[in-house]
Symmetry: C2
Subunit: 233 residues, 2 copies
DNA sequence: GCGAAGCTTTGATCTTGGTCAAAGAAAGTT
DNA sequence: AACTTTCTTTGACCAAGATCAAAGCTTCGC
């Protein structure tokens, strides 16, 4: 079991909808678990035995094609909810992009707990609606944006979502952060090739908008120009 | 008010989660409404005053960019649910692609009804999760598929979703149907240009996979080859 | 520290799909 | 029916990004 009251994502995860006593009940069902970078939590087509809250780290949801390529359909951060409650198997593979800490529940026990807590279910619905909005924004990117715009969009999102876990205000943007993924994964998120990703990084670096002290670190030097690049035409 | 018991989508829409007497209560809140092709039901950024079930017809959700172009992020069919319950404004524009009939509820009355009917809310959650899966499939298409694959994918989806409204079994696929959208709209769905769409139509027509007796009609002559085309690599 | 294995970057070339332009076909109007 | 308007197709050309290939860098193991 987990001690929810001291959980760093207590107020941001779906658990925020619960009262203290209900939280304790849920806590008895959950279990903290570490997963290492690269480890896969859920395989597509699996009867999805678990759902989870992300406490720390970054995970990806991906659709893997027969020829070995993959499209990453979502990148999830601390306080996000993972898995497919109620019925259905998970249609995606869920893999850790960084070492991560998650709070797992068996699907069946979570399902029945949720059925008895409409507030939780309501929160879950709102989360899912938000997730849907995010997916559709991504669709617009894939449908309409150029390579440069895609890179800029990703960097802006990361600098927003990668804030130090716990209690940072949502207005905080990071000007320096570690990429939770390599170039290949960036290309799989953005629907580009690794070479194009690399060339675009070089390009906006040469324009002085960002710095890349090493392959994983990004420093945003000119946020307003980066944001302008991320916008469409 | 609407007479839900005779509604053609009664068993497929979210209303299917309700008992007869609850259904009557909801029916008092709903109102049938016709909208004409091209008419916009909801504008992006609006305080989204309504939610609705589609009874008949096809509607699109779109993100409209400053330069007048648009990305269509979803195409919705009979029995689908439209709108953003609980809070938030609608981030998309909702427009009829064909003449359509919908069952509208004011957001506030629907919200409070849903709060008191967990089954309905649960159904709504499952719908939204399904919708999310659909959006992510679309993302994979936009990220990885070629122009030909995109066209083939859309035609397969339409022949599946455009079944005669009411009570057709889900196994029915149409081999002849009317496109609910023009070439421009197809290009806005698939993230292509209208010229590319036209060329790809011509191509698979010349290969004998489909026939195009007029600009709106599609006849699938060789479904297995069309399905093969829709698959990746 | 040396070598192997991975990443990442850069370069050269090619392809797909975009852009620009114009002609054909339907549909709507007078 | 003639004319306008709108939608669709086709053609010629272009460009963004993909592909193929090779060279630099890191990282890791010994």
């Amino acid at each position: 079991m987990s001690d929810c009251s001291t959980c760093v994502v207590r107020n941001r995860a779906i658990c925020a909808s619960l009262e203290t006593d209900e939280l304790q009940l849920l806590g008895h069902l959950g279990r903290k678990r570490m997963i290492k970078r690269g480890e896969t939590l859920l395989w597509e087509g699996d009867p999805a035995p678990v759902v989870a809250n992300i406490i720390d780290g970054v995970l990806k949801l991906s659709v893997n094609l027969q020829d070995g390529r993959e499209q990453i359909v979502s990148v999830m951060y601390a306080s996000d909810f993972i898995g497919r409650p109620f019925g259905k198997e998970s249609p995606y593979r869920v893999t850790a992009m960084t070492d991560a800490e998650i709070c797992v529940f068996s699907r069946s026990s979570f399902d029945s707990f949720a059925k008895e807590h409409p507030d939780l279910q309501n929160k879950l619905l709102q989360r899912t609606l938000d997730e849907l909005d995010r997916a559709r924004e991504w669709m617009t990117m894939l449908g309409k944006k150029s390579a440069t715009e895609r890179i800029a969009t990703l960097l802006v999102e990361l600098s927003d979502r990668l804030t130090v876990d716990g209690c940072s205000p949502t207005t905080l943007y990071l000007d320096r952060f570690e990429l939770p993924m390599d170039r290949q994964q960036i290309s799989d998120i953005l629907g580009l090739t690794i070479e194009t990703v690399s060339r675009q990084f070089t390009r906006i670096r040469k324009e002085g908008i960002i710095e890349l002290p090493d392959r994983r670190t990004v420093i945003i030097k000119d946020r307003s120009r980066l944001k302008a690049l991320a916008e469409i035409a």
